[in-house]
């Protein structure tokens, strides 16, 4: 049940993030919205891997290697999310640098004004 709730929240975050990104004209607000969407995606991915009544995939005293297969949840989504978060940060940092440079050159943060390239 927890997985479904978390997944629903994740999807909601993605939708809110997309809506925010596609309606706000300010570059920084768009980037914030995209970060929210990314977080939503991460939550969905982890929620897919969750199995009720099981514990984290760390082999230690509490979870010996022998009975790991019955006790731990699916480790693969976690590995994917870890990569996704770092990649999300990479792209966000790049977008922020672009936003800063665009502001430096054009003195505006409004996406509507950056339309020299068209048609």
């Amino acid at each position: 049940m927890i997985a479904q709730i978390a997944m629903a929240t994740g999807f909601a975050l993605i939708l809110i993030g997309l809506y925010g990104a596609l309606t706000n004209h300010n570059l920084l607000r768009m980037i914030v919205a995209f970060t929210i969407a990314d977080t939503g995606v991460n939550i969905v991915i982890v929620a897919v891997g969750y199995m009720a009544g099981r514990t984290a995939p760390i082999l230690d005293a509490a979870v010996p290697a022998a009975e790991a297969a019955q006790r731990i949840i699916d480790p693969v989504p976690q590995a994917l999310v870890l990569t996704a978060i770092v990649i999300g940060l990479g792209i966000t940092a790049l977008m922020l640098a672009y936003a800063y440079k665009l502001y430096q050159k054009k003195r505006t943060l409004d996406i509507g004004k950056l339309t020299e390239l068209k048609w």
Partner: protein, 85 residues
């Protein structure tokens, strides 16, 4: 556990809506940071500590800071481009 997850999820959606709808950019960035923090707690509830740590360190920590840093650099930009049509 169920109640806590529900609470966290509602808080997260609230934080997200605040981040999108609020006028002030700093408030929006802070709301996004809060959202990341709540997300890392949800990750803990979903039994994935690695991801929780990453989300906490990178998601709420560094991303929020990057935003504030760039915001600081373009402070005057906020008054110009911030209005909603």
């Amino acid at each position: 556990m169920l109640a806590m997850t529900l609470l966290l999820c509602v808080a997260m959606i609230g934080a997200a809506l605040v981040a999108i709808r609020t006028d002030g950019l700093p408030v929006s960035i802070l709301a996004a940071g809060l959202l990341s923090l709540l997300a890392s707690v949800v990750f803990l509830v979903l039994a994935s500590p690695d991801v929780a740590m990453t989300e906490a360190a990178i998601g709420s920590g560094l991303t929020t800071f990057l935003f504030f840093f760039v915001l600081g650099r373009v402070r005057s930009g906020e008054r110009e481009g911030g209005e909603h049509d």
